[in-house]
Structure formats: structure tokens, C-alpha cells
Amino acid sequence: MTDSALRLVWIYPDLLSTYGDRGNVLVVERRAKQRGLQVERIDVRSDQAVPTSGDIYLIGGGEDRPQRLAGERLRQDPGLGRAVENGAIVFAVCAGYQILGHEFIDDRGERTAGLGLLDVWSTRGEGKRNVGDIVAEPDPRLGVPTLTGFENHQGITHLGQGVSPLAQVSVGGGNGTGDGTEGAWRDTVFGTYLHGPIMARNPLVADLLIKLALDVSALPPADNTWYDALRAERIAAAQATA
């Protein structure tokens, strides 16, 4: 963080805000403010330039055509890439996750270039769409507990050598590659298929992003009563149907 306010950038709410991932912005903002931080929220529409000076960049899921449009516009905008070079944090969900990779399949069924910020590439699954509650055990290096979320995607995301899986699935589909991986991450760039939204179901993921932005190892405690109750309910419900 370069000045007193945490700069929270929400990329393309006009295109990639269809599955409630706006909640990620709201939860990060709320939990930062609860820790006494000033938050400057910057919503960047797809006809606007992505600022390079943000601390945390959030990208949500969207439908197939908006995903293609978002990918095209982000490829022409050097903002996000420069921000990552500067050490900014990027957390992307579903369609946004696929855009961070090398390529994805667009609404016309064509292979479309992504941003290459994560060493992953996405194809389209032939089988049943992955829809439902998902439970996954995160990479222990992230220091967050079991992940719960809701997935809704046809895409399959393949991981290259340059990334680690974000988590290992215990219930659900995840990356869909058959090896049980879910999501991907490298340094400060994260991608996942989890909606719910993920930050509402896993507030310690929101805290992780804030800690990375502040470069601190701990935050003042926050009241997690309702989050914990929701987490317990959803994890139990997913395991019961598995």
C-alpha cells in the first residue's frame, strides 16, 4: 500500500458481475473497514482504463459473450499487467479466472487469448456442467481453512508449471481436470471457480488479500459468528449430498 487508503479495484462490473461476485468487493471492503482501514473503491467499467496503482483487483464471473468482450478489452489495456508487476493482488472468479490464463473458449466456440497472468489455459468440458456446492482444502501455504462455495461452469482449466492449485476438491468439480484441483495461484495472482460469493463463504480469504496488501502477517480480530455459521451449514450440506 502506497498511501493511507487501501485501493480496491473492481474490474468491469458491466461485464463480469453476473453471479453475485460483487459480494467479494463488498466483503473485502467491509472487513478492511472493520480493521480501521480507509478503503478507496474504484469500479472500472469496460470503456475505462484499468488503473495501475490499485492494491487489490477483483474480477468476477460473467456470461460467455461478456467474457469474450472483457478479455478483448483487458488485452488492449496494459493497466492490470503493470499493476501485477508492481506487486498488486489480483483475485478472479470463474470467467475472470479463465481470462487471467493463456486462453479460453469464447461464446463462438473459438480459442481466445487471455492475459497470461496465470500459467493456465481453459477448454470446454464435454460432459455435464459443474453446478452445485463445492468444498475444497486450500493450499496450506495460504493459511486459510476449508473453502466452501458454489460452482457453475462448463469450462475446464488446465494448470501449467508456473502455478499451484489453489485447493484440492473434496466435493464438486473444481478445475474439472480429473485430478481434483481447484483454482490456481502464483505469488499475488489468484483464480478460482468458486462463487457463493467466495469471500462471503470464506472471509479469511478476504483477510488474506488484505494482509498481502498491507504486507502484514496478522489483522486485528473480526467477529466471524455469522460467517462461521454459514460455513458450517454449507460444508455439511455439500458433504451430505456428495
Binding site: P13, Y19, G20, G23, S46, D64, L69, F150, G196, A229
Partner: protein, 420 residues
């Protein structure tokens, strides 16, 4: 509402196979009713359609059919149109909201002497029903995100409507303030544009034609990339008036609350004008409509007034927040996530619950914990409860506004019908 609800005779124009199918369908419906499994209209229609897939075409053959489709407001607008059209002749309608082909077939099989068939149609089935019923008019009210875990993507739906309705002979009455609806209707031959308003705009920032970023100054909207823009409306909602194509304003006096129903009334006036019903007559007839399938109904629970409000998706919640009593009126929220509701509750985060700050709020339903986290983040004071009776016992003075999504709303209606 059937013009002749007691009539058991199917329409005289049906062939022998169709008559058999209708009879078998009615038998199935009677069995379903006797078993306490609902009104029986859907199962009856399903049995009948299975016996004769051409049945929908036949049961609608003698009727002037009006189709009504939208994400929100279908059931209420269908009711308003049915009421207004009675000025021109007897009406049959699927008033109970069974809006897929089986339910529609079942409703029309009881058409008796009706001249008009006013039919609510699920968005996904509009093309098919439009093909089979040869409608005279099709009303397209709005399109926005709804149950994305099981439905088509919203723009895809608009695209399907556009393809399916391109050749229709029907007069299409479409909301010019909704870019997706405009996109769907603009390939049709005969369109009456209605400025019916659009409160929830989050699905309308991307041009449905070219993907450009929509500009929305005041009431206008246009795409700077391809020029797709809001058509000049023939009818308009202005304040609490319907303005007709001659520029004449007619006051709307509904018992139904809220901006969305003023919008529904405006579309209704435009629809029935196709059949020669004057807007003044139409609006007078609409005044008689009270609760529609329990929506907006006020009930007493342990002596306390509770108003039942249905909100199924972000656009619906937004419209509902705009009509509830101001703070500090107590508010109950109930959300389920059964298959009919959509099993993904992520949409709660597309709703501005921040607007409830200042209201004492009570949350219930299967997904009350999702609501609890949502309200915690919104900075809204709330309590988690298990029943509407509990809310009545705990809430401060004033009418309680109870807002629920689909199956939670049905549950609420059952709960208040049988006091504990």
C-alpha cells in the same frame, strides 16, 4: 380465470383424439387434486399433451390469444390484461401462474365460451407457445438475471426471443426502456413500444447487439459503437399516468402497490388497445385487481398486519424495496434455495440490502444464514428467527413487510393461513 369455470365441455372445435386427451388430462388433474397435490392443472396438462402433442394448437384455435412473458410481473400483468379485456369479451387465462405448456394447455382446455385467451408464458417457452397458439398480441415486459444455476443466460434468452419471434404475425408490445427486450422485439414486424421504465439496469450495460458499453443519459439509452438505441415509445408511463399515443394522460389508480405495477398497468393499456379497449375503460377495470396469487396480500398474524411480498431476483427485490413502508417499519426476509428458487444464493449479493438500513429486520427461511452474512456486510441490524409468528412477537410497532422468494413465499402463505 375461466369465463365459465364450471363448464366441463372442451371447446367444440377439438377433434376426437384431442377430446380424449382433454378428458384424460382432466381425470389426472382430478386425481391429483384428490391426492392433495395442488390444483392439478400441470399434471392434467401433461397427461393431455402426452396423448396429443398438437393439443395446445387445438385448444387455442378458437381464441384471440395474448401472450405475456418477462422475468418479473408476468402473473400480475396477465391478471390485469385479463381483467381489462373482459370489457371486450369473455376471457380464459392461466391465472394461477402455471406458465409452461402443460399448465397453459390445461387452462385453455376449460375455455368454454371465451373469446380471449390471456396466457402467462415462462420465458424459456415463449417461442414454442407463440408458434402453437397463433397469438394476436405478445407482451414483453422485461428481462434480467434470474436463477442462473438453471436458466439460460439473460442475453441468450433475448437472442432466442429475437429469433423465435422474427416472423410472428402478432402485434408485439415491448418495453422500450429495457434494451434486452428492445433487442428481442426489434426484429418483429408490428411493435408497439411502451416506455414502461426499468429500475434494475445491471444486465443492460452491454449492448445486446454489438457488445458496446451502453450510454444511459436520463431516460434515453444508446450504444455509441453501433447506434442501437431506445425506440420512440408509443405509450409511456409518466408518474402515475399512462400517456396514450395521442399524448393524452390517463390516471392509474391501482390497489396494487409500487412502480412495477404502474409499469404493468401501462403495458396492459397498450395491449388491450390492440383489441379496441379504451385506456380509460382498461384502467377502470384494473382498479378492481387486488392480491394476485397472494402477492401484496395483507394478512393478520396474531392480530398483527403482515403484508406478503414476492421477490425472486435482484430486479424484483429492487422494485419491492421501493414500495415498502419507510423505516422504521419492520421487515421480514425469507429466502429458500430449492430448485424452483435456484439453488445458488450468490444473487443475494446483487441486491442492495443496504437500503434496509434503519428498518428492524428479521431473517428466516432455509437460507437465513446467507441472509445474515449479507445483512452483516450491508451494515443492517437483523435478528435470525424461525417463523413469521416469532417476528410478530418480536417486531416493534407497525405493519410488517414480509419479503420472500418463490418457495419461501409459498411457505409464508401456508404459515399465515394456519395460525399456530
Amino acid at each position: 380465470m375461466s369465463a365459465h369455470p364450471d363448464s366441463a365441455a372442451p371447446s367444440g372445435s377439438l377433434n376426437a383424439r384431442a377430446k380424449l386427451a382433454v378428458t384424460a388430462g382432466k381425470a389426472a388433474a382430478a386425481v391429483s387434486r384428490a391426492a392433495g397435490r395442488g390444483s392439478g392443472s400441470v399434471i392434467g396438462g401433461r397427461v393431455a399433451l402426452k396423448l396429443d402433442p398438437d393439443l395446445l394448437r387445438q385448444v387455442s384455435a378458437g381464441l384471440d390469444v395474448v401472450l405475456v412473458s418477462a422475468t418479473n410481473g408476468k402473473t400480475t400483468t396477465t391478471r390485469l390484461i385479463a381483467e381489462a379485456l373482459k370489457a371486450a369479451g369473455p376471457v380464459v387465462s392461466n391465472a394461477l401462474g402455471a406458465n409452461m405448456p402443460a399448465g397453459i394447455t390445461s387452462a385453455l382446455a376449460d375455455s368454454g365460451e371465451a373469446r380471449f385467451g390471456v396466457i402467462e408464458v415462462d420465458e424459456k417457452y415463449l417461442n414454442m407457445v407463440a408458434r402453437d397458439t397463433n397469438p394476436k398480441a405478445i407482451a414483453l415486459l422485461n428481462l434480467s438475471r434470474d436463477q442462473l444455476d438453471r436458466s439460460s443466460e439473460t442475453r441468450m434468452l433475448a437472442e432466442k426471443w429475437r429469433e423465435g419471434l422474427a416472423g410472428t404475425e402478432a402485434v408485439v408490445i415491448a418495453n422500450a426502456d429495457d434494451p434486452l427486450v428492445t433487442w428481442a422485439a426489434s426484429s418483429c414486424k408490428k411493435v408497439i413500444w411502451v416506455a414502461a421504465g426499468q429500475a434494475y439496469k445491471e444486465d443492460a450495460w452491454s449492448c445486446p447487439s454489438c457488445g458496446g458499453v451502453m450510454q444511459r443519459p436520463d431516460e434515453e439509452w444508446f450504444c455509441p459503437s453501433c447506434g442501437f438505441r431506445r425506440p420512440q415509445p408509443h405509450w409511456a408511463l409518466q408518474g402515475e399516468f399512462v400517456v396514450d399515443p395521442q399524448g393524452q394522460p390517463w390516471p392509474i389508480r391501482l390497489q396494487l402497490p409500487g412502480r412495477a405495477n404502474l409499469s404493468n398497468a401501462t403495458s396492459t393499456a397498450a395491449v388491450v388497445s390492440v383489441f379496441g379497449v379504451h385506456p380509460q375503460i382498461a384502467l377502470q377495470r384494473m382498479e378492481s385487481v387486488q392480491a394476485v396469487a397472494g402477492r401484496y396480500e395483507s394478512v393478520l398474524v396474531n392480530g398483527r398486519e403482515v403484508r406478503l411480498l414476492l421477490a425472486k431476483n435482484p430486479a424484483g427485490w429492487l422494485e419491492t424495496f421501493s414500495l415498502i413502508d419507510p423505516a422504521p417499519a419492520p421487515v421480514v426476509l425469507s429466502v429458500n434455495a430449492l430448485s424452483a428458487d435456484g439453488t445458488d444464493t450468490s444473487w443475494l449479493w446483487d441486491v442492495d440490502y443496504e437500503r434496509l438500513v434503519g428498518h428492524p429486520v428479521f431473517v428466516m427461511g432455509q437460507r437465513k444464514l446467507d441472509l445474515a452474512v449479507r445483512l452483516e456486510v450491508a451494515g443492517v441490524q437483523f435478528q435470525v428467527i424461525d417463523s413469521i409468528q416469532q417476528a410478530v412477537a418480536m417486531a416493534p410497532q407497525g405493519r410488517i413487510e414480509a419479503i420472500a422468494n418463490y418457495t419461501a413465499f409459498q411457505q409464508l402463505r401456508r404459515d399465515v393461513a394456519t395460525p399456530n
